[in-house]
Symmetry: D2
Subunit: 424 residues, 4 copies
């Protein structure tokens, strides 16, 4: 499996997270950084024979035209976590990566994202044209990179919540709408996901955009034995929540109020400053507690744009809880982390694990990846440690890497049945 070539197609490839992914993969390939932050670098995963980070071939698209190198340099500023001294050695490769990137599509992305694009936007207005463009980009990426397997990962800005629609639950109806060019109940993320599946790729939704992994698309993926998973990478405040909330549950300490304030200064913050887009994010963040506690305490999830913080997301949470004899007590925490630095290694982890699942023909949702997401599709468990135990059990269930080729073959055979993606 190590020998098969894996491509990672990043939607939002000029953004902070994708740029950090690129810097990190290149820096690892040159041995400039250690593997801190990479979950799949833990000893647990050694036997799986995952594709190496340095072997991943990166590509992607973006609706903006900001050069990746410029983003990288901004991220090497003082309130971002990318080491400035890494960049000179990587500049040429980053520039080459940049040149290979495709334009993105802007169908129904919501006002705050649309504002990011100068002019009419790079994508075609007709959804069929948009879909064709994405498909062509994916094929070119696969062919030019001689890639065996492809993982598509959505890192684009958060779209507004997409209201429910019958077509979201019926793959056939969805296909009819698509054929008719009726994209009212779709967003750009929907089209990306559909194109990815049609091309036989794995698809990971690292964003809260609920338009991407609609039930109809998940069912489609299951049928084609293509792995998909989401939503919304768990990198900061919610990560802490999912570790802390079980404390209150297991001590029978009723949470009276859990009030969280998130300050962020990057593009993510600017987009989330728009109430329509923020709603999607808040929904994703706000369902963690009820699932862990078994009841819905008073909560507040506030997100404010503070430009001077750049990429250093700062979250302050106040947890007010009740104890014995009715006494009220509190726990407060301040989390100060570089947003992209926290997200990027998880993107690489997901790329490796999705590529592995793709090779094995695992179709539909990947519940063992729940620990990576704020809103893990199909998984009710929100506590971090049991979520991680799901991943540990998955790994332990796998055959040793030596046995793997056969299974990979089998996986490939199955995936090949879907027709599109040339594999191993």
């Amino acid at each position: 499996m190590g020998r098969s070539r894996v491509g990672v197609w990043l939607i939002g490839a000029r953004g902070a997270v994708a740029t950090t992914v690129a810097v990190g993969a290149l820096a690892r390939a040159r041995g400039l950084v250690d593997d801190a932050g990479l979950v799949t670098a833990l000893p647990l995963f050694q036997t799986l024979g995952l594709p190496a980070v340095e072997d991943l071939v990166l590509g992607g698209c973006d609706i903006r035209s900001a050069p990746v190198l410029a983003t990288a340099e901004r991220l090497a500023g003082q309130l971002s976590g990318v080491r400035r001294d890494l960049l000179p050695a990587l500049a040429a490769e980053l520039a080459a990566h940049d040149r290979r990137l495709s334009p993105g599509i802007t169908h129904n992305v919501g006002p705050a994202i649309a504002r990011l694009v100068a002019g009419p936007g790079p994508g075609p207005a007709d959804i069929r044209a948009a879909l064709a463009a994405v498909t062509a980009d994916l094929r070119r990426f696969r062919e030019e990179g001689r890639l065996d397997r492809l993982v598509v990962i959505n890192l684009a800005s958060t779209e507004p919540l997409l209201a429910d629609d019958p077509s979201h639950h019926d793959p056939e109806l969805f296909r009819v709408r698509l054929a008719a060019g009726d994209g009212q109940a779709m967003r750009a993320s929907t089209l990306y996901a559909w194109a990815a599946l049609e091309e036989g790729c794995a698809f990971i939704n690292f964003t809260p955009s609920n338009g991407a992994l609609l039930p109809a698309l998940v069912e489609h993926a299951r049928q084609r034995r293509l792995p998909v998973m989401g939503n919304d990478g768990k990198t900061g405040e919610t990560l802490v929540k999912s570790a802390l909330a079980p404390l209150f549950a297991s001590r029978n300490l009723p949470v009276l109020s859990w009030e969280g304030t998130n300050l962020l200064g990057n593009l993510d913050g600017a987009v989330l400053d728009d109430p329509e887009h923020r709603a999607a994010k808040v929904r994703s963040k706000d369902q963690v507690l009820p699932r862990i506690l078994g009841y819905a305490p008073h909560t507040g999830v506030h997100i404010h744009f503070v430009p001077s913080l750049d990429d250093q997301k700062t979250a302050w949470d106040l947890i007010h809880f009740q104890g014995f004899l009715g006494a009220r007590m509190s726990l407060q925490f301040t989390w100060q982390g570089y947003d992209s630095i926290l997200a990027a290694p998880l993107v690489l982890d997901l790329a490796r694990l999705a590529a592995y699942a793709l090779a094995r023909g695992e179709g539909g949702l990947l519940p063992h990846l729940a620990c990576f997401f704020k809103d893990p599709l199909g998984v009710a468990e929100q506590r971090l440690v049991p979520q991680f135990a799901l991943l540990e059990e998955y790994v332990r269930r796998q055959p040793p890497a030596a046995d793997e080729p056969q299974h990979v073959q089998q996986g490939i055979a199955k995936a090949e049945g879907t027709g599109r993606c040339r594999l191993g």
Copy 2:
């Protein structure tokens, strides 16, 4: 089992935790408070048929003479969590409880505890006499209360660390030393624990004092099928640590430094202000991280006495960690909890669960109670959620309460073999 009478003998019965235990048990008996904070009130435990909190018969001893009611009134001050309006209804019962308490023993308790006692101290100087006194107190408590089973719980102030000694590992040698009146390698907590076991009681060490559950005593308990467990109730900063540290482990985020400052204003704080006593506490708190993380980060565990805080323990921790590309980030938290309010329900939980184990003849350490302790004897697992899973699994392994009587009989038969404690 509900009908059998369970006594709970509290060492340090005039202290803040024991007083809160008494207030809480009495208030629950009168329906004045709900069951927040009581782990054993969670639905999980309903099938076990645990003795009801309101049926527990409380007793105990203390080296101080401060009236329990005075302690309760102090705890109903503004920086303590006991509701002042509870006290009038409970005053008569608290006074009666107070009158039943015995004096404690002061053998080798360390300077800061010795200072608490005016004059020569209430206990006999000779350890044989001390042991006899404790034994007599336990017997009288059992007889006067017509108790079927007895759980002894150490809530006394933290003794200095007891240095290792051959007699700690050899029950026979220990017994020889005891017979010779040679208590050099023992502390008051050792004598209490020995007396409890000789009297057929369960013994719980809720303190960091390592003199109580010496290996020789644990072995003694195992042989006699008497349950014992410790050390050091996990109520505050360490509880949070055991919930948060797995986050860093499962995300492969190396902890660079975990620096904790604990401010407390009660008697516990005054005693721990003495470096000799503090060492025991710090050792108990400082071993959590290495066990969870698999390596020993730079840590600091600081404890300072701040009288104005009374019972409101305030802990501030700064966790400095490394992420992808070598970036350094931080999480800080402030925990503000009422020390006794957090501890007291756990004491009641442990009393109920130890009484249950005693009835079933479970001898030696009780690993399923690991989640209650900072330093759970015999259990390497320090992560809160998996510790709680041990308890869940234990409960699920138990026969329904209806089956219980037989098992209880069996347990009693075994325990009766030890001769002393009238059970059943």
Copy 3:
């Protein structure tokens, strides 16, 4: 002056702050509490001969009918600062105080306040009738209490911002509107303030409601030599701001962002949860920094209603600032204070100092009271220490108390010219 009887008429007399004022004044009269929190108890003020707190005669009105004693009992809960043990001794007097209170008026108070009143509300719909009612209440209070001087203090919930209007700047036009019953450009607070001035009282606006001390009313007060001051008592986060911000100014450390989150659970919080009402509060809080720093940094002032916090207001501020060589650093603070406990002594301070100014015939704004307000009318200085220096200088300028009667006479003569309020 000590012998003259001073009345304090509290608008919002059934609320948390006014109730704490009443509890505090009564408790001081009985020697149950010390003078912590009372600025005018500092040695500085000893020579002034201010009316004693225990001699103040309290009265007032409220649109709600909640008994003061019930409010006091709620405030003696665990997350409020009123000591429960004070209440039994004061219950009879609090009940008597309650019986003397008048109903309030609800003209144009905004949606969140209007919701507090069941039914059509206690006040007359016509502003002339409303004014007449308030006037009658003030007169009855003065006569029944045989009061020499009267200070009216607005403690009612925050009204929405009142848009500017020509009548606000022209006492004659204002009077014309009033006579015509045209109250469109007025709120309840406007009518209270006008009635107070017409009755020769001092008027203090402890709230952010900008309808109270309109320029026309300030000018009216100046002409009649009646002291007035506001707006918005400085009790918590803004108090800290006004102490901390000069640090950044005097060290030439540009503030990049000052982001503040205020969580509060009392009625004040419930009203401020309404965006229309919150706007007034935020405006009052948000102008402090530009005045101190000389430039307007990025700021956020967020207010959230968290019921479980009761009266324990919790504010978290993150100050992000720039230092030498462009380095960015931060200061964050968490303020946890009982809202009413912080406000009540300032109300008593203002009552004493306004009564003093009234006796001396000081008309118009009282700049020496700037340190008590978030938005001190007529004073640009926002730094706490220089504001307090204004007060110190005022005190030092005053003649010794022995000389005072004459000045009082003079003041009275002037005020008597206005006809209404019997003084001296």
Copy 4:
């Protein structure tokens, strides 16, 4: 005055603060950074005609041999505030600066500093020889740099407290001891200060080392019209304290406890980890509150060495205070600042202001510089704003810069009378 050449001789010139001073001065000379953090860049100081930062000639000594450039590179790491991109442009000049530095002396510096020096240490063992060496270094610096005025600033690590001695209060006795080579009651800082004064230099003690500005030396400076000031630059937690404490004083809110924890990871932290050295620092920090509050609350000043924090000092303070009706409330803050970034501009400010005072012949202590110091010698005022007002008043008292030359001449004439330092 702008034309006269001013030299700044830094004791501890290879340390983090001195290196940041050098980087900052050079970067400013090249226009690479703005003037944030420089107090003397505020408009207030424009009329004084202070020597420009970029015209200051830097020199100094150190007992260590670490290259300045290496220190600068360490300071450009991620937890330090020096921008990495500044260094390439400054490397040659920093290296030249490094070559000009002299070795330091180690007389009686205390164990933690002595450990910093490999071997027997660079300085002579005999204090007369040490003094001669320092004197020769100062002269060479002055001559080689053709300097008109010289300011010596102590930035060396904190020495242990120097116990009181009669010679500290009697310049003649001090001189006798010196002549006899009896340095028992002196430390290295004493010798540096004496040498500086003998050479007609201004002397600033930016450290808590109390051996530097002994009363005898201050008197000596006064007689010779040489300006001196100290102790201990106010850069972080104490700076915040001096801004916040007046809040509690002016609101009559008794402080019950002020507990502070300082975590730092640089060399300063390593030295202060030694209890003997820490005592000096704690004493300097711990006297601020009593002077502001007028009473001594319970306080704790804890300093811990946390290597991973590098230069990012993190302080957490909990202020527990009492309000009206005895209610207890709290304020906590976390200060996260780069130690050297905060200190360096103040060193440049002090150099400029001390050079100015030297030119004007101001002898002895400089009370108008109180705001720069934790323990401002000869000034009881500890509140930041009034301290800054002292500086403002000083500036306003000065003649306009145009008038200055004459005064400078006069100052020079006086200083020349002391013989050593060629000025003018």
